[in-house]
Subunit: 237 residues, 2 copies
Amino acid sequence: MTHDPENMAQLVSFLAYPERASAELPAHEKVYRALRDLLLFGELAPGQAVTIQGICDMLGAGMTPVREAIRRLTAEGALEFMGNRRVVVPVLTVSHVNELIFARQAIEPQLVVRATERATDSTIEELTQIDSALDAAIARGDVRSYLEQNYRFHARLYSMAEAPILSALADGLWLRFGPSLRVVCGRVGTENLPDQHHEALSAMRAGDAQAAAKAMREDVIQGMEQVRRALAEGGSD
Amino acid sequence: MTHDPENMAQLVSFLAYPERASAELPAHEKVYRALRDLLLFGELAPGQAVTIQGICDMLGAGMTPVREAIRRLTAEGALEFMGNRRVVVPVLTVSHVNELIFARQAIEPQLVVRATERATDSTIEELTQIDSALDAAIARGDVRSYLEQNYRFHARLYSMAEAPILSALADGLWLRFGPSLRVVCGRVGTENLPDQHHEALSAMRAGDAQAAAKAMREDVIQGMEQVRRALAEGGSD
DNA sequence: CAGAAAATAATTTGATCATATTCTGATGGA
DNA sequence: TCCATCAGAATATGATCAAATTATTTTCTG
C-alpha cells in the first residue's frame, strides 16, 4: 500500500529532462533531495524497507548515486541500517520521541532568537507568506501541503538565524520524525494541529526575540506531543 | 607537510590483512572509521583538501567505498563540500565554535544525567580506567593518546546514557571540532587542558546526577573555550 | 622586443556505469 | 530438524566520461 505505483508516477519525472533547470546538480545530490522529500512529506512510511535497486527503478538513477544518497541519509538518521545489509525507514519509539522533544526544544528557540535579531521586513514577509499557504493547506485538509509548508516555515527560520551548525542539527531532526508526522495527521486530522506561528510572527515583528522563541518552543512541544500520543496509542513500544 | 608519507605509513596497515579481526565489516565501513579516526585525532588538519583518489591510495581501497565514506562524513559536517567538487576539512571560525559550545552544553549534561542514572559499578570502573589512561597520556605529553582517551571517555558516557539520538548528535559534534583540538594542544600543551572527569566520576559514584552533569558541563565549556581562544589568536575570522 | 593577458592543451580528479563478486535468506530435500 | 543449494540483492572493482585545474603557448599591447 505504501508503494503505490500510481502515486509514485509523478515523482519519477524529476530526472526525466536532463537539460532542465537544476540539471547542473550531480545525480547523487538529486537523488538525495528526492529521497529527502519522500521521507519528510510522508511518502516513505516508518518501517518500510528501502532497497537500492528499488530506488534505482523508482527514480531512474544509477546505483552509485543511489548508494551515496542512502549513505548520507543513514548518517543523518533518516534511514537505518539493519545488521545485515538491509535499510529501512526507522520506526520511532516513545523513548525516541522524548529525545527528539528534548533536542528540538533545546535548539530551536535559540535559532528563533537569532532569526528574530536578524529579521528584516522582507524575511518576515516571506515567513508570513509561507504561513498563509500553511493555513490554506489546513483549511482544505491537504496533508501533503501542510507537511511541506510547515517544514518550509521552520527551515526558513533556520536559514535566517545564520547559524550553520545549529541549523544543520535542527534540520537533521526533521528527517527523524518526518515520516511519523504523516501518521499523526492521519490520526488527528489537520484541524487541531499546533500552530503558534502567528504568535511567533507577531513577536518577531515587534522584535521581541524571547517571546518569539517561547512561541516556537510551544509549537515544537505541541507538535512532538502529538507524535508521542499517536505512537503511544498505535505503536508497540 | 600535512601529507607526510612517513607518518601515514602505519595508518595504511588497517586493510593489510583481510582475514584479520573485524574483517567482516564492509569496506565502506572500514574506510569510514579510518577517516573518522584520522579526523578526530588530528591526522587531517583543518583546511586540508581531501581527494577521493588520494584516500584510495592512502587506504588501499576502491573508489566506491571511499565515496560512500566521504558522503557520510560530509553529511555529518566532518567534511565540507566546496562549490566545485572539492572536499576539504572545514576550518572553524569563532562563530562556529560559539555554536558548538551552545550545542554541546545543551546536550551533554542531559546525557550525563541519564548515564549516571544507569551507571553500574562495572561501567564506572570502565570510565575510571579510560580516565587513568588519559592522565597517563597527559603526564607523558602524548597528544595523540590524550585526544583518543578523551574522546573515548565522552563516547563511553554517551553509550551509557542509552539515548541513541542524543548520543548521535553529541558524537557528531566531535567530528566538527576534532580537527581543531590538535591545533589547541599544539598551542597550549597538554598540561593545562580541562579535566573535570574526576569530579564527574565521583559524583557518578555518589549517584548525584546533577553534580555529574555540572562537572561535565564545566569540562565541555572549558575545552571549547580553549578552542575559541586558539582560533581567536591564530585564525583569521 | 618584453611582458601581460588570453586562449588552448594537458593533466588531474570527480561522476557514473557496467560488471563481477560476495553475502543473505529461503526453499526443498534428507 | 538440519544441511545444501539457489535466487536475489548488496558490495566492490575498474573502466569510461566529463569537469576543473594547471601548465603551456599564443597573441596583443606598450
